[in-house]
């Protein structure tokens, strides 16, 4: 059985006269760590809030965990959400925060949560407001994971954390992913971090889905061509160039191409990294506004597995 943890169709959200999200159609299969990337105001937080039911769509539909309407009791039961800035009740001691979360959910793994707090060195009687930023984020993640969710949604989870805390946080996410098969959808600015953890990429730009696909496929269908700058324009017309970077002598073209495609004479082909790929698309939001990687086997912008 494979389900889509998030499936959106024509999803749009408008605030006043501003569209935060327009005609967003995508499906994220279970079992991925999906990274939601995009500049500020691209609609990342809006999409995540729609997925957890904190917002209602202006148009379109969004379902989670295989057809449950977002925000429905069945959906809330299976999704744990860690919002931006990891809000906790600052005046509650850690133990009461556990008690509260346990009372608000059908499942809560108290032993797991207490063990995690022990590892983190968070005393149960410490008020959450007195924890460090890294500890608060870890604590919020622990509360979310102790609910034994099927989908973990993280909104900018590491934005406020120092590198060590960031690493520890993502390590806990990956552990949960490996041990329990939790699917993860996270938004982040920190591209370098994504390279290590994400195996699915969704690139949002100005409220639209620009790229969506498995990281492996995306990397396989793109490469960087390096060659004389003078020839760049000539090839740019023939190749599907996502982004061109020109130096004095050399030009670097990020193109959509498969491994077997021919390389122009005098040019070199290199595989592309996820960060580089994402950056290229982020820079070319207008030029490459349309769905993702051209893939011959599937006209859909993203892979839908049902």
């Amino acid at each position: 059985m494979s389900t889509n943890v998030i499936e959106a169709s024509g999803l749009s959200k408008r605030y006043g006269s501003t569209w935060a999200l327009r005609e967003c159609t995508l499906a994220i299969a279970a079992g991925h760590v999906a990274a939601l990337v995009g500049p500020n105001g691209a609609g990342k937080t809006t999409l995540l809030n729609l997925a957890v039911g904190m917002l209602a769509p202006t148009a379109g539909t969004i379902e989670v965990l295989g057809g449950r309407p977002a925000g429905s009791p069945a959906a809330l039961d299976g999704i744990a959400f860690v919002a931006q800035d990891t809000p906790l009740y600052k005046n509650l001691p850690a133990a009461d925060m556990l008690h509260l979360t346990r009372n608000l959910n059908r499942r809560f793994d108290q032993d797991y949560a207490e063990a995690r707090l022990g590892e983190l060195g968070i005393p149960l009687n410490r008020k959450t407001g007195r924890l460090s930023g890294g500890q608060q984020a870890q604590f919020a993640l622990t509360l979310a994971l102790a609910r034994r969710p099927r989908l973990l949604v993280l909104d900018e989870p590491v934005a406020m954390l120092d590198p060590v805390a960031r690493h520890d946080f993502m390590a806990l996410v990956m552990t949960a992913m490996a041990a329990d098969g939790v699917s993860v959808v996270l938004s982040s600015h920190v591209l370098a971090e994504l390279e290590r953890v994400a195996d699915y990429l969704i690139l949002l730009s100005r409220g639209r889905v620009q790229v969506a696909g498995e990281v492996e496929d995306l990397l396989a269908s793109h490469r960087v061509l390096t060659g004389p700058a003078a020839e760049a324009d000539r090839y740019a017309e023939r190749l599907r160039v996502v982004h061109a970077r020109r130096g004095e002598a050399q030009a670097h073209l990020l193109v959509r191409a498969c491994a077997g495609d021919p390389v122009p004479p005098g040019w070199e082909a290199h595989p592309v990294g996820l960060e580089e790929l994402a950056l290229a698309y982020l820079r070319e939001s207008g030029a490459a506004a349309l769905p993702g990687p051209a893939r011959s086997r599937n006209a859909e912008p993203s892979e839908v597995t049902r």
Binding site: A30, G53, S72, G78, F81, P87, Y89, A140, S183
Partner: protein
């Protein structure tokens, strides 16, 4: 790549029973116990004071009321002394208590949602399995019932404390200064203030402005009720004979005068005309204001003028209490329902 498969967990999908309501009881208590303790401290301290003061008031009144013959000057002086000693304090207490529902509504009701929205914790609370609208209902309703019940108990004590002043004829139960503090009204006003606070907190999303808005809205509502609404709960009675047998010079001791006006030959007479008429009787005029003393009334009656009085009789105290309690309860239910509906609608 080989996608990790989520293990099938049929027990999660089939028959998804919601998290039981009773689990919210601890949450509500844990998060609002300081606010409730504040209410308990405020009303408790006032109750202790009222109890001690009430004992003295009742003791003094029992002594004054036992004086015989009741119409003698000595007895009059005794009652006058009682009022001089205790009435100013009673007035002050009643005035202070009129603000209690507003304070409870503002400081207990407004933060319930405003604090969550202001600090961002609503993103945590509203995405838990319990569900957003159920969470809101499970917070507002028990808190509302608790503060209303506390206010109800307290108002019984206040009624007892205030009884001698009604007996002495110093105040009537229908008077705006005390009507809202007795019977079911005090609890109902507290409930309404709390419900106003809850909705204001949701709409304003910040604690301090929500508190201010609650105080303002409550004050407006209380003034509107006291000055305009209450006198229309039932059609006022009308009389042209303000001196029924057995009462000194007014329509019984306990009636609430809504308005008075003079007519002659069926037409209303203005104050300036009356003043002119009274100048024909110089021994009566000169005090200014509305001529109401028996002599003035007699004089004007003899000249063909009639004093009309519309009033609410004292016997309507309880009907009025139920009417006021009823609409305030309906308003509170409506406000809480609107709050829950808005929370539910904000998102799916």
């Amino acid at each position: 790549m080989t996608a990790l498969r989520v293990p099938a967990r049929p027990e999660q999908d089939a028959s998804l029973r919601p998290v039981p309501w009773r689990r919210m009881a601890w949450v509500t208590w844990r998060q609002h116990r300081f606010a409730l303790a504040g209410v308990a401290a405020l009303l408790g301290a006032l109750a202790v004071y009222l109890w001690l003061a009430g004992l003295r008031v009742h003791h003094a009144w029992t002594a004054a009321a036992a004086c015989r013959p009741a119409s003698s000057d000595a007895c009059g002086n005794l009652i006058g002394g009682f009022l001089a000693t205790y009435w100013p304090t009673a007035q002050l207490i009643a005035a202070l208590l009129l603000t209690a529902p507003a304070l409870i509504g503002a400081f207990v009701g407004a933060p319930v949602l405003a604090r969550e929205l202001e600090t961002g914790t609503f993103r945590f609370a509203w995405t838990q399995g319990f569900g957003r609208w159920r969470w809101t209902l499970a917070k507002l309703v028990p808190l509302a019932i608790t503060v209303a019940a506390a206010a109800g108990v307290f108002s019984v004590l206040f009624s007892w404390y205030f009884q001698p002043f009604f007996a002495a004829g110093q105040q009537i139960p229908l008077a705006p200064a005390v009507f809202g503090l007795r019977g079911v009204a005090f609890a109902a006003w507290t409930l309404a203030a709390f419900a106003i606070g809850g909705l204001a907190g949701l709409l304003i999303r910040r604690v301090v402005p929500a508190i201010a808005a609650t105080l303002a809205a409550y004050t407006g509502l209380a003034l509107a009720a006291g000055l305009y609404l209450r006198q229309h709960y039932l059609t006022p009675l009308l009389t042209s004979n303000p001196n029924p047998p057995g009462s000194p010079w007014m329509i019984g001791q306990s009636a609430w005068i809504v308005s008075q006006w003079w007519t002659k030959g069926g037409k209303p007479i203005s104050q300036s005309v009356l003043s002119q008429v009274l100048q024909g009787a110089p021994q009566l005029a000169g005090k200014g204001g509305v001529p109401q003393s028996p002599n003035v009334t007699q004089y004007l009656n003899q000249h063909g003028y009639t004093l009309w009085t519309s009033y609410q009789p004292g016997s309507r105290f309880w009907p009025f209490q139920w009417i006021e309690g009823g609409w305030l309860l309906a308003l509170s239910v409506l406000l809480i329902a609107a709050t829950v509906w808005l929370v539910r609608r904000r998102a799916a």
